[in-house]
């Protein structure tokens, strides 16, 4: 993959912004490509899984993370961590009013508190490099919370922290990073930790800053047939614009079935697509608009893009060793060959939990038994 960056490459290397402790170097910021699946304590679940995808050779929109070390440094720099601890201690998880008041005060404090000059410089430098890599001045980014506890078994932190889309400029990035950090202290999150008995020191957050895929087309992809569990195909749903319309089921997307082994497109269903999501340049938020009439029944994803996407799906499945459910986008700012991005990949759960695909024969039969049984069954004409 052309955009997968070698972490040893000098251009992206982290020669600044590291902390030494007991001979170990812990960075304050790092590129996604420097993260792996075991980087969760450092960069949280979301950033580490993006890093893992990159290491698998998958193209994901480039970006970097403020590490948990960066988060801790921010919190300790002016002692707000101790202040917050004292504000939280003794709170009653059932006292909603006290929770909300405390939360409001903590969040205001976090958001008002500037980063140290060191962190500001590090983030601004990474953001500038990201803009250069993306060939876009003031590149629009998504600023995402990436919590370390996200993937703990039984801990449903997912979705509790915020994501801010279409953020432009270093100052805005820094501002929204603080908003992400502060989202660690919503009333609900504080109450949850009290109830579950998590000490506040156990909780850390990382913040990912990722180039927004300015998607011409986006959608989802399964590395098995969601209809019949066939593991030899990859099934792709696609519509114009951001993937929201597909994920939410607001439109009937185009559907493609690709042979996973040979990459032939076995089936294509071109649907009528009435709306798509795109960014409103004035308000800078994503909103649905009508697909121009002449494009409504046109294939939304080109054949070579379908093949490229299927190859990525196959690679991701191979890397994780199980069928996957993947979100993807085709970026309109970039030319074919480097414009298809994976936004998210998670294990497929429906068919993977079934014992056997439907219709598979009684296993273990000898050739002779199978031949006889099939003869008796025959081929139904319907």
């Amino acid at each position: 993959m052309s955009t997968a960056v070698n972490m040893h490459d000098k251009r992206w290397g982290n020669k600044y912004g590291t902390v030494r402790s007991a001979g170990k170097v812990t960075p304050l910021v790092c590129w996604f490509e420097e993260c792996r699946k075991d980087s969760v304590p450092l960069v949280g679940g979301k950033c580490s899984s993006l890093g893992e995808l990159i290491s698998a050779g998958v193209r994901v929109p480039p970006g970097f993370a403020l590490t948990t070390e960066g988060y801790r440094r921010f919190m300790t720099d002016a002692g707000i961590d101790r202040e917050i601890q004292s504000m939280v201690s003794g709170l009653d998880a059932g006292d909603m009013e006290a929770l909300e008041n405390t939360s409001g005060a903590i969040r205001e404090m976090i958001e008002a508190h500037p980063f140290s000059a060191e962190i500001e410089d590090l983030v601004a430098e990474r953001y500038r490099k990201l803009a250069v890599r993306s060939c876009l001045p003031a590149v629009p980014v998504a600023v995402r919370s990436s919590a370390t506890a996200e993937d703990l078994p039984g801990a449903s932190f997912a979705g509790q922290q915020d994501t801010y889309l279409w953020v432009r400029g270093a100052d805005e990035v820094l501002h929204n990073m603080r908003r992400c950090i502060s989202s660690l202290y919503t009333g609900r999150a504080i109450a949850y930790r009290i109830n579950q008995g998590y000490a506040d020191e156990q909780v850390a957050i990382s913040v990912g800053v990722q180039k927004m895929a300015n998607s011409f087309t986006a959608g989802v992809m399964f590395t098995l047939h969601p209809g019949n569990g066939d593991r030899s195909v990859i099934v792709i749903d696609s519509n114009y614009g951001f993937g929201e319309s597909v994920v939410s089921g607001e439109v009937t997307p185009d559907n493609f079935v690709v042979n996973k082994i040979t990459m032939d497109i076995l089936e294509r269903t071109i649907s009528q697509k009435d709306i798509y999501y795109t960014v409103d340049q004035k308000t800078q938020v994503s909103r649905p608009i009508e697909v121009p009439f002449e494009r409504q029944k046109v294939q939304s994803l080109m054949d070579d893009e379908i093949t490229e996407l299927a190859k990525m799906g196959k690679l991701i499945e191979k890397h994780y060793g199980r069928p996957m459910d993947i979100e993807w986008a085709v970026d309109k700012d970039l030319p074919f060959g480097g414009n298809i991005f994976i936004l998210q990949a998670r294990p497929e759960t429906v068919w993977s939990q079934k014992q056997q695909p439907p219709g598979a024969a009684k296993g273990g039969a000898s050739a002779m038994d199978y031949i006889l049984a099939s003869m008796l069954e025959g081929k139904r004409l319907n």
Binding site: A360, L376, E377, G378
Partner: protein, 609 residues
């Protein structure tokens, strides 16, 4: 899906009485209520794979031979539990067949142990039995090659007297004819010894993999058995060798410049190294040029040895390709590597150990049976038949000499029992010294039959008659003829369209993957192959091994008849070019020069009108 009732199909005006050209049991009847009910309630489909043209009375011999062969193995030898044999009828000269089910579940059950024991024995001892089979085949081919067809002398040789032989050439001629026919029928006994079991192993491997992977295209499954060397390709390989040799010896220009074999031969004899090349040709001819230019089923399918212009054209194609620096070898290593990759990747996707075990067993069996499934064609339809037709022409030449008919080729208008009758008439008259009665009877009858055959040829047989069943349990029917629910309904759809010029898409079987666009070349027989231009798309009723050189020129193929195991599909997969097979009507709808798009993955042909 609606098809005509078999008894409602009208006789073509002017052919009244055509039924007498064929054995009586081939008629749909109205005078026997029980038989008529059975016929009306069965499903009969047109066997265009074997008979793309109406069948000549004599050529009914191979239909009768396989009618007996397949049915006896199914029903009396292996006892395939749910099916008996395959029944046959003729409508207006076209052969219709119908698998006969076993309807009583108890009877099906009672057949199971026999099938398991007998078929099981064959599967277990396949290679050993197949080696025996090959010896039997070589033996019977030797017998027919050495069978003398004596002509009738005015005076018998003196040795009849001096050696006390006590038999005449008249008797020998009749006996030779009987021997010839018997060898033919016997050869067809061997033809079916393994075929049904071979197809069963094959079709149910396909079936199993499709159950594991509901979206897998059939051709991907057949690809798992590709790349096995079979002698079906040997004839074509010999042409390639001869092309290389011609360039080596510097006689290649002679072969590419002479369109006619006679001219080429004369020029080669005059060339200092021409003799060496001709020797190499002689060596290749036996048996590898005993390959029919058709399916080998019809007397009109000539072999390369009968018409050397056909291999000459193939050799010239290869010489030209070699001169352009092209690699003319089939990419076998690539095919095998791709086969192994595909097999391994699909195998890895199987989730349970039990299914993987069944997959391995069925794949192993399918690979074991594959060479037989392919090779029997060369031994029987090509090699044996080539010799057989030649011998029959020798018999016919003697009958012509005695005034029984006007032309050697007239013999095919008679049933084989009529020929026997004619021979008796002829030899008794010869023995007696009078004029045979047949000289007045047969020429007249043959002239009438010629007219009937012409009218048959102008008629379009419906793809099927009768009532389609809910379930087909006869695997051979499914694989070989590509008869499935979808193909039948596609055929009937096309049939319902009154104007063939309005059709822009045709559906068939996805025979070999890939998409290609190009100009159509409709080749109804092997003679038409010579017209094929580089890069055209071949549209043919069906193809056979002797068409191999055609595949070196084309970029895709479409056939009327055949399933994923048909010759065109196999060869296209080996060459890595798209094929859509079993379209039902392609040669009737497509005309040479039309622009086509062939999608070998979906089985759709688009015609740009």
């Amino acid at each position: 899906m609606k098809f005509p009732k078999p008894h409602d199909v009208r006789t073509i005006p002017g052919t009244e009485g055509w039924e007498r050209m064929y054995p009586y049991q081939y008629q749909f009847v109205t005078d026997d209520p029980e038989r008529m009910t059975y016929e009306a309630q069965s499903f009969w489909f047109y066997d265009g794979l074997h008979y793309p043209e109406p069948i000549y009375p004599f050529d009914t011999i191979w239909d009768e031979a396989w009618y007996l062969g397949l049915s006896q193995y199914n029903n009396r030898i292996f006892q395939v539990p749910p099916v008996r044999g395959v029944d046959h009828r003729i409508i207006n000269g076209y052969v219709y067949i119908s698998p006969v089910p076993v309807t009583d579940p108890e009877e099906v059950g009672s057949r199971v142990p026999n099938f398991m024991e007998r078929a099981g024995y064959y599967y277990k001892n396949w290679n050993e039995l197949e080696a025996k089979w090959e010896l039997k085949m070589k033996g019977i081919i030797k017998q027919i090659e050495e069978l003398p067809i004596p002509s009738l002398p005015d005076l018998e040789d003196i040795s009849v007297v001096t050696e006390g032989i006590g038999e005449s050439k008249g008797f020998h001629l009749i006996k030779a004819y009987d021997d010839l026919i018997n060898l033919g029928i016997q050869c067809w006994q061997y033809h079916f010894e393994f075929l049904n079991l071979g197809y069963a192993a094959y079709v149910f491997f396909l079936d199993f993999v499709q159950k594991l992977f509901p979206s897998i295209p059939l051709q991907r499954v057949t690809q798992m058995i590709a790349g096995i060397d079979v002698i079906m390709y040997r004839s074509d390989d010999e042409l390639k060798k001869l092309a290389k040799k011609a360039i080596e010896l510097g006689v290649d220009l002679i072969l590419t410049n002479c369109g006619e074999w006679q001219d080429a031969e004369t020029a080669l004899k005059a060339h200092p190294k021409g003799r060496t090349w001709l020797d190499a040709l002689e060596e290749a001819r036996y048996p590898w040029f005993h390959v029919s230019t058709g399916t080998g089923w019809s007397h009109s399918d000539k072999s390369w040895n009968d018409d050397l212009n056909i291999p000459l054209s193939g050799i010239a194609t290869y010489i030209n390709q070699l001169r352009q620096g092209m690699d003319i070898e089939r990419p076998m290593e690539k095919v095998r590597a791709e086969r192994d990759r595909i097999t391994e990747e699909y195998r890895d996707l199987i989730t349970s150990d039990e299914d993987r075990k069944t997959f391995d067993e069925l794949l192993g069996t399918a690979k074991t049976v594959f060479p037989y499934v392919e090779n029997h064609l060369f031994y029987v339809e090509h090699w044996f038949h080539t010799v057989f037709w030649r011998k029959m022409r020798e018999v016919a030449a003697i009958m012509k000499e005695h005034g029984m008919f006007e032309d050697v080729e007239d013999v095919w208008y008679l049933r084989r029992d009529e020929i026997k009758q004619g021979l008796w008439d002829m030899v008794t008259a010869w023995a007696t010294g009078v004029k045979p009665r047949g000289t007045a009877v047969w020429p007249k009858e043959i002239a009438w039959r010629k007219g009937v055959m012409k009218k048959f040829q102008e008629w379009s047989p419906p793809p099927a008659v009768g009532i389609p069943p809910e379930v087909i349990r006869e695997p051979f029917t499914i694989v070989l003829w590509g008869v499935t629910n979808s193909s039948i309904s596609d055929w009937s759809e096309v049939q319902d369209i009154s104007d063939p010029d309005s059709i822009t898409t045709l559906k068939g079987f996805a025979g070999s993957p890939g998409v290609v666009e190009g100009k159509a070349r409709v080749c109804r027989s092997a003679d038409d192959i010579r017209l094929l231009q580089e890069g055209e798309i071949l549209v043919a009723p069906t193809t056979s091994p002797s068409w191999a050189p055609a595949f070196a020129r084309i970029k895709g193929a479409i056939t009327d008849v055949g399933g994923v195991m048909s010759h065109a599909a196999i060869v296209c997969r080996e060459y890595g070019m798209p094929a859509v097979v079993g379209t039902g009507h392609a040669t009737k709808i497509i005309r040479t020069g039309m622009m086509l798009r062939v999608d070998g993955a979906t089985g759709v042909v688009t015609i740009d009108r």
